[in-house]
Point group: C2
């Protein structure tokens, strides 16, 4: 693993590409929506701002999440879009320390060939992760092609991993499966899931459940379209905390071999990646557990009581987000 | 309640309008999709072909369904589209004899005003049915406007109502809330839900759970876009049965007052409508229970061992679907 940042790396430039990246800016409309939809409900333990909602059902915890695929991706590669529609949903449950049970899909189809490829991608991912698609809805006469998936999972409420529970002084761990490739159809996707064998893939998903059961982490989130720094920003916003991270410590593949630079890497959606926070005493054990399932994890920084996410490299330090000022999702406006 | 069919009613014409109605024809692509997505899973009790999938979780039964809104409706009336996105999902759980717990939504937004109206409709319906929206996904930069919702519910597995369990000799019951109006923006929607008070509406949803608990029905389905006859066709296809129904017995509002004819009524999506099958000895009790919550139910015909759905009126009889030949959803090809 190469941990050296290229010489040309500038913290200010990193801050700028992360801030201006569409994966981040497109999250801004979320806050307004949440305000209008929130209603009181006794059995909802957490909802918006988390990777999945946690609902109490007797003594059980049920997880419910939904994720859609960018139309950009549908057009670029329908098979990969179908595969990702399952991948991102399985990650939403894994990020909560849960076990995925079943999915439903909503498919809007304009072109029969696209439809066929999307379904093939969904079916392959469903088989690979061992999570069945059990129903859904079809818009056969749509003017556009889109695929959305919702997922049901379970977790014991006291073993769930949340986004809103990071504490001052916690260490920040970034965890990636680095054994992958830039996806041929989508330069911003780091694909590991189509390459890994079924058992490794499922053990990676189960590892988050193990971390939850053993109470090793204080908070966690799967790394999604906003990339590693953007996703940390969302976790901080939900936790109402700040953080300082060292760019040189972020795990990365052999960038030269992958044909990308570090600016590109921090904006990527990794096929298997998580941002976690933990007490310092648990960091080594977390990194060890991840390494058992082929995931490279590293301590990249610390949670603090500011509203700022800052990135450091050598003597340079730059602010990426002032979460008190604006936030990413506008969760608390 | 007027039970007389207009003089001009022809069974052949009814058969034709139901067969050719887009609400029915657009279901045809479903079968192919199901074939490609089905994977073995021990804890999935039922999946495709039912209003919701039933998944075993320890001793509990979990229901998962997803439903989207026609783009036609999104364009015609975004508020009503948002309201309906919740309504149809709550119906999916009710039809299974279940209790709705929580929903997630996926919203694709092109225009901010449309988005605002959709959200208002969803929030109003969520409050009225008492089912919270707990998360979801937003496509803020979409080239189209669409709203999809997925819903989680619970039901005891031995009290669930299925679509595939109708038996030869069962009576067929059609149940509607007739106290409504043709929706001002959508002539094919019979709106009762925005007019009914919260308590009546929730008691109507709970009635399906009561029928399941008391094992009064053998099968059931909520009446969706294909209308009362098209929905019965889907139930028959799933049950691998046939049926003969009397058009004159289908409950209907005062059609003249509503400004529609019977051909229109049978193609409508009712705000609260169910097709059920039951042993003859339970029919009177089912009709009585429905009447307690403002729903008009009637025995409209009988399940048989053919593959045909036929409609009768006076001396006339016409075949609507040969479900052995083609089916509606192509479930078993």
């Amino acid at each position: 693993m190469v941990l050296r940042v290229e010489k040309k790396c500038s913290t200010e430039q990193i801050a700028q590409v992360v801030r201006e990246y569409a994966g981040v800016t497109r999250k801004r409309a979320i806050g307004e929506i949440i305000q209008s939809l929130r209603i009181e409900s006794d059995n909802v333990i957490v909802s918006f701002g988390e990777d999945a909602a946690l609902i109490k059902n007797n003594e059980d915890g049920l997880l419910l999440a939904a994720d859609g695929i960018w139309s950009m991706l549908m057009e670029a590669d329908p098979y990969w879009a179908g595969f990702c529609s399952v991948l991102v949903n399985v990650h939403d449950i894994a990020a909560m320390g849960g076990t995925p049970l079943a999915m439903v899909d909503i498919l809007s189809v304009q072109d029969e060939n696209i439809c066929h490829d999307v379904l093939r991608g969904m079916a392959d991912a469903s088989r690979k992760f061992g999570v069945p698609i059990v129903g859904g809805h079809l818009h056969p006469d749509s003017q556009f092609s889109a695929v959305d998936v919702a997922i049901l999972g379970t977790v014991k409420p006291d073993e769930a991993i949340f986004s809103h529970t990071a504490k001052e002084g916690d260490r920040i761990i970034a965890a990636f499966d680095l054994d992958g490739r830039v996806h041929p159809s989508c330069a911003l996707n780091w694909d590991t899931a189509t390459l890994r064998d079924t058992e490794t893939l499922r053990s990676q998903i189960r590892m988050m459940k193990t971390l939850g059961e053993r109470r090793l982490v204080t908070a966690g989130k799967d790394i999604s379209n906003p990339g590693v720094i953007g996703t940390l920003g969302m976790l901080l916003e939900t936790s109402k905390k700040g953080a300082s991270i060292s760019l040189s410590k972020i795990p990365r593949p052999d960038l030269a071999k992958a044909g990308i630079d570090f600016y590109h890497w921090v904006r990527m959606y990794p096929g298997m990646g998580f941002i976690l926070t933990a007490e310092e005493k648990n960091v080594a054990e977390i990194i060890r557990l991840f390494s058992e399932v082929g995931i490279t994890a590293a301590d990249i920084g610390e949670i603090n009581n500011t509203n700022l996410l800052t990135v450091k490299y050598g003597d340079m330090e730059s602010e990426v987000f002032d979460l008190g000022e604006e936030g990413i999702m506008h969760l608390f406006i």
